[in-house]
Symmetry: none
Subunit: 203 residues, 2 copies
Amino acid sequence: MKKIQVLVAEDQAMVLGALAALLETEPDIAVCARAANGREALTLAGKHKPDILVTDIEMPEMTGLTLAAEVRERLPQTRVIILTTFARPGYLRRALDAGAKGYLLKDRPSAELADAVRRVHQGLRVVDPDLALEAWDSGPDPLTERERQILWRAGEGKSSGEIAEELHLSEGTIRNYLSEAISKLGASNRVEAARLARARGWL
Amino acid sequence: MKKIQVLVAEDQAMVLGALAALLETEPDIAVCARAANGREALTLAGKHKPDILVTDIEMPEMTGLTLAAEVRERLPQTRVIILTTFARPGYLRRALDAGAKGYLLKDRPSAELADAVRRVHQGLRVVDPDLALEAWDSGPDPLTERERQILWRAGEGKSSGEIAEELHLSEGTIRNYLSEAISKLGASNRVEAARLARARGWL
DNA sequence: AAACCCGGATGACAACTGTCACATCGCTTT
DNA sequence: AAAGCGATGTGACAGTTGTCATCCGGGTTT
């Protein structure tokens, strides 16, 4: 029986080693190489032609999303699984657009990783069900560009007056935008609004 | 030969499982239990009396730092190793104050984890050398425990009134603590204060 | 052209926030 | 015992924030 060859890419060395150890405990899976960033992963993928590439998103040199797109183009026989901390609908969409076959969260039980590898290897897609749901009912980004700019600055601790000056708007207008953003997000003040927006990947 | 009994606490389930798998590959180390947050870790530590507790810092319910302090008090025979993403001097300092025997970054090669476990088990301390240097010349944490509690909640977007209720203090007292924290940090409002404190690892 | 929508502005008002001076109260230090 | 200290509370005051109704001017739609 031939083992499924997996390449793992992850920038935190400790986590990379741990994920590799986790996959190696499976009898039908072998980790053929490890990469500490996207560029390295692309090189190693070319060399090893793995069946599956498991990759983080936020990495130096090249993000997992770019990596996925490159791999689809150059190594169509290698299937990509995104493994990330971020349950952001925006990331999920971009990952799928980039041709990723799986999107898995680091929050999920570790047993699911090997499962996902097997399923994707069989040609199935694996998308975190909670995230898919959340992406569905958290809906699209409700913030306008102005609201985003302003909420971002408010989240840094800037006052309405400072933001007004920075954006060449009146202070009252800033307050209006913030009020609108707070109400859209169901928050009770600017800080909570910023926190919620960040959590959903809208900031 | 008796294996070193290790309890691992980490809120990202996938990483938790992977770290456990990593440690299990060592012949002289056994993972006796796993916890998904600080409170669970404390309970399990009481039950299993592990030799070593490897814990993340940022976790729900109870942070790794609080956990370290509790463990020192209740289970002095268990030694704590902090394993975290954050190279923040303030975290290191607080970890050591809380009685942690090791402070390791997730950036480091995965082989160092087992090493650290062995060394700490032998009674040595293991602290990331770069971080130790940085911690030396950055100032001490200026915040009191109360200020930290309150600033933390303020940073989540809670109002003075909500925080007062939560901590059974008067609203005026909350405002006083926040005012003090803002002035200590040289910020101009609670949001900026929280941001600064977080960046330095004081929250 | 009339009707509408959009980004932006205004003013008023209540609520919340930040500051400060000053109490209390219990616990140490002298 | 007196003094000092730290944690907490109070009251007052000014400044900031959140909400709302309304207004204005420039494009679009009809």
